[in-house]
Amino acid sequence: MASLRSMELNINGALHAVTLEPRVTLLDALREHLGLTGTKKGCDQGQCGACTVHVDGERVLACLTLAVQAEGKAVTTIEGLAGKDGAPHPVQQAFLEEDAFQCGYCTPGQIMSAVACIEEGHAGSDDEIREFMAGNLCRCGAYNGIVAAVKKAAQQSEEARA
């Protein structure tokens, strides 16, 4: 169990060489070994969504993913969402404007889910957004703001495509 393994992880477009035990989760690799603490640990058992990241463009719970499983795949975390010029992603901006959070701890996971929710085409109505964002718990109860933010960003993305 304790044998170390060298691996290369592609996080936010940069390759990181790390040597980890195979039992290290992607979440702990990010937070404890790579200093990328934007991805949050809320339950460590796949129930709260705070650790949501993208692996090859799909939303994934980093606490239920081993770091070795992410080898050779493109991982995107909240830190990698902003544009190259540093401008916030439209979903990040919408969360800010709609006050879609309070304590902010679930927020990176909410935003990563929201980006995917829009990409998946699941932001067609308020009810659809509620359903497809239901895996991300928010104890502060910012759900109304989250729905408004996802809707706003989805509309902007729609307009950009048109």
Binding site: G35, G38, G42, Q45, F101, G104, G141, A142
Partner: protein
């Protein structure tokens, strides 16, 4: 519709007429960091050379540890230390919030005598988290088990003990009351409920020297927490530094040092290296106590036309076998209505649980559940509309204290929320409204929260570039402290909000009271307001009197605005220019809102790091409370018994709002938590051994996005300067109070079934 775009205007609460930045909508000051993942919470602070600590909790409900076999764990790879009661450092016992001090001359956070399932028994420290976790699983503990009484529903729990301090009586509660043509009695129950902030509890403990401890821990009370560690380790207060820049939710659960906090600090001390500890999600359910289970029997009598004659309230709540915590169940019952004859009594029943603790609107929340359900039932018995019954019992003063209200705009709440909801169209008969398979129910209830007072302290620095810094050990757990303190300083010093930076969450900064009781916003805006005014006065004095001031002799007073200072008729110069001319690079002022008195340093510190600060203030001559009225529509699937909340309209009187958008988020957040309380949340214990069966976020269900409809929150508050210096009242905990009874009342209206025990599940309806 939302609070910020509601067309109705009521004083400065939904204010676009605020003349300065305070009272206006402003984007959350710490929001940019939070959406980028750049807000580093306590456990994410970068500390070199960290070790990882994992907790081991008891698996029996009562009894004692016979032996702990640590050998395998100690031999496991990477393990540095396995701690238990045998080898732990002994600390000085410290009282908790509620006055419970562990018995004996010393305190060890690891138990030998087990008093509840999940009590801390051991801890493993290793180089990596994975190593510590694996080694913790190798620890073999043998117990001698004793019978456990897991909940107060167990008949062995008995009737507990009376809490005399909570007993209240006036008039003639025993009657006879010839005029009371109607009498109604019922019993209401709420289960154990847990705060479950999404950020679990934990800390990094770092001994920077033998007698200097730095703690990174999410806490709602920097100064109280620092006092805790200083006491445990017998250090001067100033030798402990507590840092808590962001808090991932607390809701009452993160305000004091807990056994695991002591464990991490002990491990760090023994190993001479910083130690990080995070409770696992299941461990959080016994690492702190949530709201205890409650049972309340209310007996109301009223005249036939609906005027309350008497109210008798008998309340029970759980406590632990080793400490006293009273969920103050009479608090709303005592003050909500005009009741001429009244009695409230409370008993607490010790059971084998972790000591319960404060959870959003402690006391107020379950108190209102019983009272507001009972009022609904009484209205039905009397054939009265439930709003009308409440209007007929609106008190012109506080019957508990005899004092006048500082403000009470509850009638306006009924008007505004009732109209926005469309209450007038309600058919009062149960099961009278439906759409397809769904029964529709409309219910209402009220909520309230007291306005507390305590002193605060702030430092304001005016820098040479005209920017301003506000420094305080107050915290922001999403409540908006960063934002509204910037708005306050900007208001007084006439600078744009963007020019104010706020530093919080560090015990090296000025003292602040606990972020609890919905008090911090009012107390800290007041402290910053006073301090910023003093800074402004010092700038003016500097300008008028310093021999090197270019403004000397210009006028007999000066205006400070827009980053400049000068005479009203013109000729202003930049604040930085004045500072430079007078040989300074900044001006710094610290003020507090303690009543003036001679105090030793220790006494002063006690005012902020214990609840003594509250007692230092003169007794209020008015009764200060926030109020709200919730109007809620539920839809119940007749075949499946599922309840969905379809609409919520709430009107709130919380005085002046310092930032309506952020206040709205708090109001809605409270309502969302109330939906969870009504329909989902239940701590379930194993009747054999008191284990918490629902100790995870799948079994302890909190409201998800899909459970929550669009909520309308309308402020009807007006500035209440008798309540607080800047006119605000209680915000953060107000809106959860009354949601659960409004839902229970709506469920009755939909189905004709009265559910008096939370949560309302499909099993309870079928």
């Amino acid at each position: 519709m939302s609070l910020t775009d509601t067309p109705a205007k009521y004083g400065s609460a939904a204010d676009t007429e605020a003349t300065g930045p305070l009272g206006r909508v402003a984007i959350r000051g710490d929001g940019g960091l939070k959406v980028r993942g750049g807000a580093t919470y306590a456990l994410e602070q970068s500390v070199e050379n960290l070790l990882h600590c994992v907790l081991v909790q008891a698996t029996i409900g009562a009894g004692r540890v016979v032996s702990i076999d640590k050998a395998a764990a100690e031999a496991a790879p990477g393990v540095r230390l396995v701690l238990d009661a045998e080898n732990s450092l002994a600390l000085k016992p410290m009282p908790d919030f509620f006055g419970n001090t562990p018995p004996g001359d010393t305190y060890v956070p690891f138990a030998r005598d087990i008093r509840f399932n999940g009590e801390l028994v051991a801890a493993v420290v290793a180089d990596t988290l994975e190593q510590a976790r694996a080694a913790a699983a190798l620890i073999e503990i043998s117990y001698e088990e004793a019978p456990a009484v897991p909940t107060f529903a167990d008949e062995r729990a008995g009737e507990g003990r009376a809490v005399d301090a909570l007993a209240k009586e006036w008039g003639e509660p025993d009657g006879p009351h010839a005029e009371a043509g109607m009498r109604f009695a019922a019993t209401y129950e709420t289960p154990r409920e847990y705060n479950v902030p999404i950020e679990p509890h934990g800390l990094i403990a770092h001994w920077e020297a033998d007698d200097r401890l730095t703690i990174y821990e999410p806490t709602q009370w920097i100064d109280g927490t620092a006092r805790n560690y200083a006491g445990w380790f017998d250090l001067p207060f100033d030798n402990v530094r507590v840092l808590s820049p962001f808090i991932g939710g607390g809701f009452g659960s993160k305000a004091q040092g807990l056994p695991h906090s002591a464990a991490a600090a002990i491990a760090a001390k023994m190993l001479g290296r910083p130690v990080k500890l995070a409770a696992t999600r299941p461990q959080t359910f016994t690492a702190y106590g949530g709201r205890p289970a409650t049972r309340q029997t209310l007996t109301l009598s009223a005249t036939k036309d609906g005027r309350l004659v008497s109210l008798e309230h008998d309340a029970f709540s759980e406590t632990s076998v080793y400490g006293t915590f009273a969920e103050t169940l009479g608090v709303v019952t005592k003050m909500m209505y005009a009741v001429p004859n009244f009695r409230s009594r409370q008993r607490i029943v010790p059971v084998n649980t972790v000591l319960p603790g404060p959870f959003r609107a402690p006391g107020k929340n379950p108190s209102a559940f019983a009272l507001e359900c009972a009022m609904d039932e009484l209205a039905i018995e009397l054939g009265l509309d439930p709003v009308e019954l409440r209007r007929r019992n609106e008190p012109d003063h506080d019957f508990e204290t005899g004092k006048p209200w500082s403000s009470r705009r509850l009638l306006q709440c009924y008007d505004v929320a009732g109209e926005a909801f469309g209450w007038a169209k309600r058919n009062p008969a149960p099961r009278s409204m439906r759409e397809g398979r769904e029964l529709i129910g409309w219910g209402m209830a009220v909520g309230t929260h007291p306005v507390y007072a305590a002193p605060g302290e702030a430092t304001v620095r005016v820098l040479s570039d005209g920017s301003v810094e506000v420094l305080s050990s107050a915290i922001d757990m999403g409540t908006g402290t960063y934002t509204i303190l910037a708005q306050t300083a900007a208001e007084v010093l006439g600078v744009p909000v963007e020019k104010v930076s706020v530093k919080l969450g560090d015990s090296r900064l000025g003292r602040a009271p606990v972020a609890g009781g919905s008090q911090l916003a009012n107390l800290m805006t007041a402290a910053v307001h006073k301090t910023a005014q003093a800074a402004r006065d010092e700038l003016i004095t500097l300008g008028l009197t310093d021999p090197n001031s270019p403004l000397r002799g210009e006028a007999n007073t000066l205006l400070v605005e827009g980053g400049t200072i000068g005479a009203s008729r013109g000729g202003a110069i930049g604040i930085g220019e004045l500072l430079a001319a007078t040989g300074r690079d900044h001006l710094e002022v610290t003020r507090d809102t303690l009543p003036p008195a001679e105090r030793s340093a220790e006494e002063r510190q006690r005012m902020f790091s214990t609840l003594a600060g509250r007692g230092s203030l003169p007794e209020a001559t008015v009764s200060k409370h926030s109020f709200c009225a919730h109007f809620i529509e539920v839809r119940v699937d007749e075949d499946f018994g599922t309840v969905r909340v379809a609409r919520v309209v709430t009107a709130l009187d919380a005085g002046r709002l310092y930032n309506p958008k952020l206040a709205e988020s708090q109001f809605k957040g409270g309502i969302v938590m109330g939906i969870g309380m009504a329909l989902l949340e239940e701590g379930v214990t194993d009747p054999r051994n008191g284990r918490i069966l629902s100790s995870n976020l799948a079994d302890y269900r909190i409201a998800t996005n899909a459970d929550v409809p669009e909520i309308t929150a309308i402020s009807v508050g007006e500035p209440d300067y008798d309540a607080t210096p800047l006119g605000g009242k209680a915000v953060g905990e107000l809106a959860i109070v009354g949601v659960a009874p409004a839902i229970a009342n709506a469920v009755y209206h939909a189905t004709g079934k009265r559910i008096r025990r939370l949560p309302i599940t499909l099993e309870s309806l079928l």
